[in-house]
């Protein structure tokens, strides 16, 4: 018996599919499968195989269907793949649909009692008596529910050939020194492993095998990466109101801050305030930003809408604040646990009247970190709200990434006058464009000088921060604000990333979490003899690089994850002269965008 699986696998060697397929684990939420899936993913990662993990979960706490997908890709493709090759069908509610959704000749592991094999003949089924096996681990009712998930890890490991050592490592990592938990889970894995080894005849082609493509890589979700960026930006006031999928930005930041930002006598160098709602959260962040702290809040769609009035206030009164918008599917409550890029227009123009905000748009978890660093600098340098436009896919899913670099630049705190400066200057005009770049000087409360104070108001104000209703004062102020944002745009905002292809007849513009799918799609397009240029936007407003790119291209596919072609709208608004070249490619069903979808749409439009 012991050798059956091994033998079998050798026979089929010629048609093996190695390190390039996707595993889907279907469970119900609240069942504790997250740890198991993490362990599974990390073990693969530790074997040097590029992986990405995506959690498709309901807006609910427990008992509803949840799917976790792990994609393995030697080429390092990290985007969502609609094809699922290898299924662990633990959820009776969805098992039939799940099996139906499998790719051709897929594999299905399922509890024996579900009797799934009948559904599809082309699928290779491994039925496992989980309920019996779990009794070998524990008879504690609560624990059983949890450890059953580790049993499938063992089964999968055995079938795919995941190294046991790496599973052990991953479990140790997952349960972080908690010996009892480690033992129990290891035991469960072993039982799964053993059962599979002894009872299953491997007839499927899927295999993993150690390579070395993850050296120096990490796995992290975008929200934790944003949190790291914030901590290393020196954030000191964090205000928030929980909302999926932004919650974990603040929750992981709290963890980091508690670990790394206490003084020796356990005093905090930060304040985290859970506000009563988003109006309060942004108000608090603005108060702190005015007072000279690096302050932030994080939210998602509905919270963004609620912040509209205050964000306009901060824009007009020139108060720095960083706002993370982890986009989910809207409008309204929409689908809180699904991803989209549907807030681009709202965030960019947020608030009534003439407002336009600096946005940075990370395209990877690495950029979640690095653009957050930039966001805090930009907010203080330009004394204005800065949005970090992430999304659920980037924010809550697990991504492989290069390790993050320690910031090379010191904090840029912008134009702040000290008591000494004030002494020298004699007089201080809060809203005067002294340097011709549109950026005025400010003072902070606490500056020990009787001339430090000034009056912030959301109504019309002069250069001296006094009240005015004079038409020309208003025009001057508004023109200066434009100029200020222009200075940012021309010199300081994160530049787009441009990939030019030789002989490319077509060009692509994309942004944010679409990057991985776009890169993958470009490879497929090249294979279909359609070479493409690609510009990935990393900030708003759009700068000259974008203009040049538009100018040099004939047709430009603007790829985005929303219904209304929001970024295309923004591009058309900012470069009306070039707008006729734009073609919209949209994906907005709430699932992360995938390469084949893009490929197919572009192919159709090219024909």
């Amino acid at each position: 018996m012991k050798t059956l699986l091994a033998n079998q696998s050798e026979k089929l060697n010629q048609e093996h599919i190695i390190n390039d397929f996707s595993i889907e684990v279907a469970t119900v939420n609240g069942s504790g499968s997250q740890s198991s899936n993490s362990v599974l993913m990390r073990s693969l990662f530790h074997m040097g195989i590029p992986v990405s993990g995506k959690n498709l979960f309901p807006s609910n706490i427990s008992g509803l269907p949840t799917w976790f997908t792990i994609r393995l890709s030697e080429k390092g493709y990290l985007a969502y793949k609609t094809n699922k090759d290898f299924l662990v069908a633990m959820n009776p509610q969805t098992a039939i649909e799940d099996v139906k959704g499998l790719a051709k000749n897929g594999v299905c592991i399922s509890p024996a009692e579900l009797n799934l094999p009948a559904i599809r003949q082309d699928v290779i089924h491994y039925a496992i008596p989980f309920n019996d096996l779990v009794l070998q681990v524990t008879d504690n009712f609560k624990l059983k529910k949890l450890v059953i998930n580790m049993i499938y890890v063992g089964v999968v490991a055995q079938i795919l050939g995941i190294e046991e050592k790496e599973i052990e490592n991953s479990i140790a990592q997952q349960f972080d020194g908690k010996a009892k938990a480690i033992d129990l889970n290891l035991k469960a894995v072993k039982i799964g492993l053993n059962y599979a080894q002894e009872n299953l005849v491997k007839t499927d082609p899927y295999r993993v095998s150690r390579i070395d493509k993850t050296t120096d890589k990490i796995i992290i979700d975008g929200n934790s990466a944003c949190a790291l960026g914030a901590m290393f930006s020196g954030v000191s006031v964090v205000t928030w109101y929980p909302i999926t999928p932004s919650t974990s930005v603040c929750e992981s930041l709290i963890d980091y801050l508690k670990e790394f930002r206490l003084t020796k006598d356990n005093k905090a160098t930060f304040a985290v305030i859970q506000a009563e709602d988003e109006l309060a959260a942004i108000g608090m962040a603005i108060g702190a930003g005015f007072s000279g702290c690096r302050s932030m809040t994080a939210t998602s769609g509905p919270g963004l809408s609620l912040m509209a009035e205050f964000v306009g206030f901060a824009y007009f009164t020139e108060i720095p604040v960083v706002i993370f918008d982890i986009q989910r599917v809207g409008p309204s409550t929409g689908m809180p646990t699904r991803t989209s890029q549907g807030d681009m227009l709202s965030a960019y123009y947020l608030s009534h009247g003439d407002t336009k905000h600096i946005c940075v748009i990370p395209g990877s978890v690495e950029e979640c970190y690095s653009l957050t660093l930039e966001a805090f600098d930009l907010a203080e340098q330009f004394q204005t709200p800065v949005f970090v436009m992430s999304d659920l896919d980037l924010g809550m899913n697990n991504w492989m990434s290069n390790t993050f670099n320690y910031p090379t630049q010191p904090l840029n705190r912008g134009k702040v006058l000290t008591a000494k400066d004030l002494e020298k200057l004699g007089q201080f005009m809060r809203y005067k464009d002294v340097d011709g770049d549109g950026i005025p000087y400010r003072t902070l409360p606490g500056t020990n000088h009787p001339g430090a104070g000034y009056f912030v108001r959301g109504s019309g104000h002069t250069e001296a921060a006094t009240y005015t209703e004079k038409p020309q004062d208003y025009v001057n102020l508004m023109e200066r604000l434009s100029k200020k944002i222009n200075t940012a745009k021309e010199k300081f905002l994160p530049k787009p990333q441009i990939h030019l292809a030789k002989n490319a007849k077509h060009s692509i513009i994309g942004y944010g979490s679409s990057d991985f799918a776009i890169q993958e799609a470009r490879d497929y397009l090249s294979q279909a003899k359609i070479d493409t240029n690609y510009l990935r936007l990393r900030s708003l407003p759009l700068g000259n690089e974008v203009k040049d790119y538009l100018t040099k291209s004939d047709t430009i596919f603007v790829i985005e994850q929303n219904r209304d072609s929001q970024m295309l709208n923004i591009i058309a608004s900012e470069f009306p002269d070039l707008a006729h070249k734009l073609i919209s490619i949209r994906h907005f069903d709430g699932l992360p965008i995938d390469a084949m979808g893009i490929y197919n749409q572009i192919l159709t439009k090219c024909q």
């Binding site: 304040a271 305030i273 603005i286 109504s459």
Partner: protein, 345 residues
């Protein structure tokens, strides 16, 4: 006489009253808000507080404009309508050493801003919070606000048929540690109350009836000068002795209570007709309800709790203001990043 440097026209810092003033008021002549501004100016002057150590905060409304008319050299944020409490919270979190004063209206605080006000009370932010209460939205021309009394009448004859939200009752219910009610027409009472509020370490709420002479000072209004004057029943005679002045003991024990505030100042309460205990939350609540039933307008210090910890204390932050932290204190070292990265591998 000990002091020689302080002439009669300057305070202990050597500043004149003028240096505590702000821009010219744009209130209507006779507006209660101006009377309150004068008392605020006087309080800062008397207490010898440096203007630039103060942050003035307000929302939107006639009342919320008034910070522009006192303490011209202070820092100030005139925020959006009804949401000053959150801004104040952020300022306090960033710099707990600044002295905060918020001025709001009944519309700003009890209509649009009610939620934020309640949560400000709950958090006990260290600040003086003044509601210049005229029962109407002055700036938008006199519609009823949520503090308008049941049955009170607008100039155009419209009668309010909803019960008033009582700022003091609400503050007490939510556990505010300093609750007082006063009247813009009673400077003698207002002055010590404002000073005591400034010396209090936590949220001090002052609900001050401040008649709107343009829209709510007529017959039928319950927030007019006349109505307030006629109905006012002061609970105590108040005196305030700042920490830097010598305390005299020239009062009859039994009839007078002397409370030491957090900063060492003393608030002296001399009993009047009623037997009122301002240190008992429950009886304060009861008195307010009683008075409401009888149509009485109780003023004075309604409640004082010197023990409640303010928000900044609960936050357990370093001693200096967060806004004064250096880059070194704010940005963890490269080792920290490396450590975190290692854990993520």
């Amino acid at each position: 006489m000990v002091s020689t440097t302080n002439s009669v026209n300057t305070n202990k810092l050597g500043l004149t009253l003028n240096e505590y003033k702000g821009g010219a008021s744009t209130m209507c002549d006779g507006c209660g808000h101006d009377a309150i501004s004068s008392q605020i100016i006087k309080a800062y002057y008397d207490l010898g507080i440096e203007p630039h150590t103060v942050v003035k905060l307000s929302g939107i409304g006639c009342s919320s404009k008034t910070p522009a008319y006192f303490l011209g050299k202070a820092h100030a944020i005139n925020a959006v309508h009804g949401r000053m409490p959150s801004v104040a919270t952020g300022v306090n979190a960033a710099n707990k050493q600044m002295r905060l004063i918020g001025v709001s209206g009944d519309g700003d605080s009890a209509s649009i801003g009610l939620g934020q006000l309640c949560h400000l009370i709950r958090r006990n932010i260290n600040m003086v919070y003044i509601v210049e209460n005229n029962g109407v939205y002055g700036l938008t021309k006199g519609q009823f606000s949520a503090t308008a009394d049941l049955g009170s009448k607008l100039k155009n004859g419209v009668i309010n048929d909803l019960p008033a939200i009582d700022i003091c009752g609400l503050a007490l219910e939510l556990g505010c540690g300093f609750v007082a009610r006063s009247f813009a027409g009673d400077p003698k009472q207002l002055s010590p109350l404002i000073k005591a509020a400034m010396s209090y370490n936590g949220l001090a709420i002052l609900d001050i009836i401040s008649p709107c002479v343009t829209f709510n000072n007529h017959e039928g209004s319950t927030k007019s000068y006349k109505y307030a004057k006629d109905a006012e029943i002061p609970l105590q005679e108040l005196g305030f002795i700042p920490y830097f002045e010598q305390i005299t003991v020239d009062y009859e024990p039994g009839t007078t209570t002397d409370v030491e505030m957090h900063d060492g100042s003393h608030l002296r309460l001399k009993k009047l007709d009623r037997n009122y205990d301002p240190f008992n939350r429950q009886s304060a609540l009861n008195s307010i309800l009683d008075a409401k039933e009888k149509g009485e307008f109780l003023t004075g210090l309604l409640y004082l709790d010197e023990k409640r910890e303010d928000f900044a204390t609960l936050m357990n932050t370093v001693d200096k203001p967060l806004s004064a932290l250096t880059a070194e204190e704010l940005r963890p070292s490269k080792d920290v990043l490396n450590k975190i990265m290692a854990q993520l591998k």
